[in-house]
């Protein structure tokens, strides 16, 4: 039981990275950025390339893991900034309707997937085994090292992000622009730079989650479609709400693991989507909507 919850949390931790990367952009530009999936596939491959071309044979184990994750995070930041330039900046300049952003983001996501397919074909690749497959025994229960690292690393990445958002001037600028971009620029804030920084942060998270997804499911061009998990978590947690996204993602992880136990892995995804649908219809603000509402 406890083992399952732990496994669910570790799965949820990866989803939370996806969901927060997703929520960051939603927060500031108010649209669901599905190109995030493309970024995740892309960075997972970038991490893999760095592994076979640069790191292989030189380092291994957890050092290799860190190197691959950092490479993917940097690649993600650069890719996301590039996507903003190509796909969204012009739309922002023209104050285009939100639906344009949405379509542009889906297009860019599919485009990235296709580019990956051209170069990498649709074969499956896999990362090396970073961590020993031995389990840690605590109180008679065994936890896998990889799950442990996933949980810790995701928590650390989110902690850094929250620190930047709530304790630095850059974070203040991001929050300001997310409330009212016009007034923000009249106060001297360069909205372009703030949006760029937001995409960089979102992309870095996308990169980290890309590697974790790659570790769990191996690499294929459509890996990034798991962005849907982040989307579901965002809906459950309240779109654009960062804390909500994390809570939603952890819940999703636990629910998925529980559902696999109850209805099997075949029925699990269908059940998850039904839950999401219920949320959309009954509580579109998500669970965190209550908390935020009460604070205001």
């Amino acid at each position: 039981m406890l083992q399952n919850i732990f496994f669910g949390l570790s799965l949820g931790a990866v989803y939370s990275l996806v969901a927060v990367g997703f929520a960051l952009v939603f927060n500031i530009l108010k649209f669901s950025n599905f190109s995030h999936g493309g970024v995740m596939s892309f960075t997972a491959y970038a991490g893999y390339l760095a592994y076979i071309w640069i790191f292989d044979g030189r380092i291994s184990g957890s050092v290799m893991f860190l190197a691959v994750v950092l490479t993917a995070a940097v690649a993600g930041a650069i890719t996301a900034v590039g996507i903003e330039r190509v796909g969204f900046r012009r739309l922002r300049r023209n104050q285009a309707p939100v639906i344009y952003y949405f379509i542009s983001s889906i297009t860019l996501g599919i485009l990235l997937e296709n580019i990956i397919t051209i170069f990498a074909s649709s074969n499956f690749y896999s990362y090396p085994v970073f961590f020993s497959s031995k389990n840690i025994e605590i109180l008679g229960m065994s936890f896998s090292v990889a799950d442990f690292v996933t949980l810790l690393f995701s928590a650390a990445a989110l902690a850094i992000l929250l620190f930047v958002l709530y304790r630095t001037k850059l974070g203040l600028a991001v929050r300001t622009v997310s409330f009212d971009v016009n007034t923000a620029s009249l106060m001297g804030i360069d909205a372009d730079r703030v949006v760029m920084a937001t995409f960089a942060m979102s992309g870095a998270l996308g990169g980290i989650s890309g590697v974790f997804l790659g570790m769990n499911y191996s690499l294929y061009p459509q890996l990034g479609q798991l962005v849907v998990k982040g989307f579901i978590a965002s809906v459950i947690g309240g779109l654009g709400n960062i804390t909500g996204a994390v809570i939603g993602a952890l819940l999703l992880g636990i629910v998925e693991v529980a559902l696999i136990g109850m209805v099997g892995s075949g029925w699990m995804p269908a059940c998850v989507f039904v839950i999401m649908l219920v949320f959309l219809l009954v509580r579109p603000r998500g669970i965190a909507g209550v908390i935020v509402q009460e604070k205001a």
Partner: protein, 260 residues
């Protein structure tokens, strides 16, 4: 701490702006000398706020130019114009509702502590010191407008009069050479209006910036302004000393049927 006023010379020349066929502003010129307090008045819909929007870069004028201290700002982006030293408040208060009072003021001081992604992540000591200094500065501005002790409050929970003051503190934080006040006394009760006039006077004495304001309440207009410009249907109707403008028959006619 009066400094000799050499900064804050604002010149707007021949501003024109049309929305479709509607000429919102037509060949409007005005100027404010360093340290001067200039009022822009006129009936509702005369284009007063549009003039502010032209100065601050919300709209680019179809024709005409805006020059601050000899630097032409026409066509610049809003944030660049703000950083050049033009601060403003809004007719319908536009505070950042998700941020607390202190953060609202700190947003505006942002350009003075340039943000850099990596230093933000690493939170370098120098960076943190700059952040603390920005918070300190913001507290000072809050103190000046009488909002000390309310740093953690949410702006929307403040009474209307205090929200106006908070907007003023935020405008101060960009260290403006020129400050534009858009109907700053709207919605204030008579005692708040008197208090507000005093506050603007105090700030003006202390910072010696140029003030351009739009206002309907004659008490504010006559008490504060050194010079008045009257706008009607987007055009300049009259300008000059406040008393002379008030007695101008054309101006009186434009206001007939208008409240105050």
């Amino acid at each position: 701490m009066t400094t000799s006023s050499t900064r804050g010379l604002l010149q707007a020349t021949g501003l024109c702006l049309a929305f479709g066929g509607v000429k919102a502003v037509e060949d409007f010129s005005f100027d404010a000398k360093p340290g001067e307090i200039v009022g822009i008045i006129g009936p509702n819909g005369a284009g007063k706020t549009t003039v502010f929007n032209l100065i601050t870069g919300v709209y680019a004028p179809d024709k005409g130019s805006v020059v601050l201290d000899g630097i032409e700002l026409t066509g610049w982006r809003q944030d660049a114009i703000a950083r050049q030293g033009i601060g403003r408040t809004f007719q319908n208060i536009r505070l950042f509702k998700g941020l607390n009072v202190l953060e609202n003021v700190m947003t505006a001081s942002d350009p003075y502590a340039p943000y850099n992604f990596f230093s933000a992540i690493l939170a370098l000591p120098a960076k943190r010191a700059a952040d603390r200094q920005a918070a300190q500065k913001a507290r000072e501005y809050l103190d000046l407008v009488g909002l000390a002790g309310m740093e953690d409050a949410r702006p929307e929970s403040l009474p209307y009069g205090l929200q106006r003051k908070l907007e003023l503190a935020r405008a101060l934080a960009i260290q403006p050479k020129v400050i534009l006040l858009d109907e700053p006394a709207a919605g204030l009760n008579p005692s708040e209006v008197r208090e507000f006039i005093d506050l603007v006077r105090r700030l003006h004495e202390r910072f010696n910036f140029t003030i351009v304001f739009i206002e309907h309440r004659m008490e504010v207009v006559m008490n504060l302004s050194h010079k008045l410009f009257v706008l009607s249907f987007g055009k300049l109707l009259a300008s000059g000393e406040p008393e002379a403008v008030r007695r101008n028959p054309e101006v009186i006619e434009a206001y007939i049927g208008e409240e105050e």
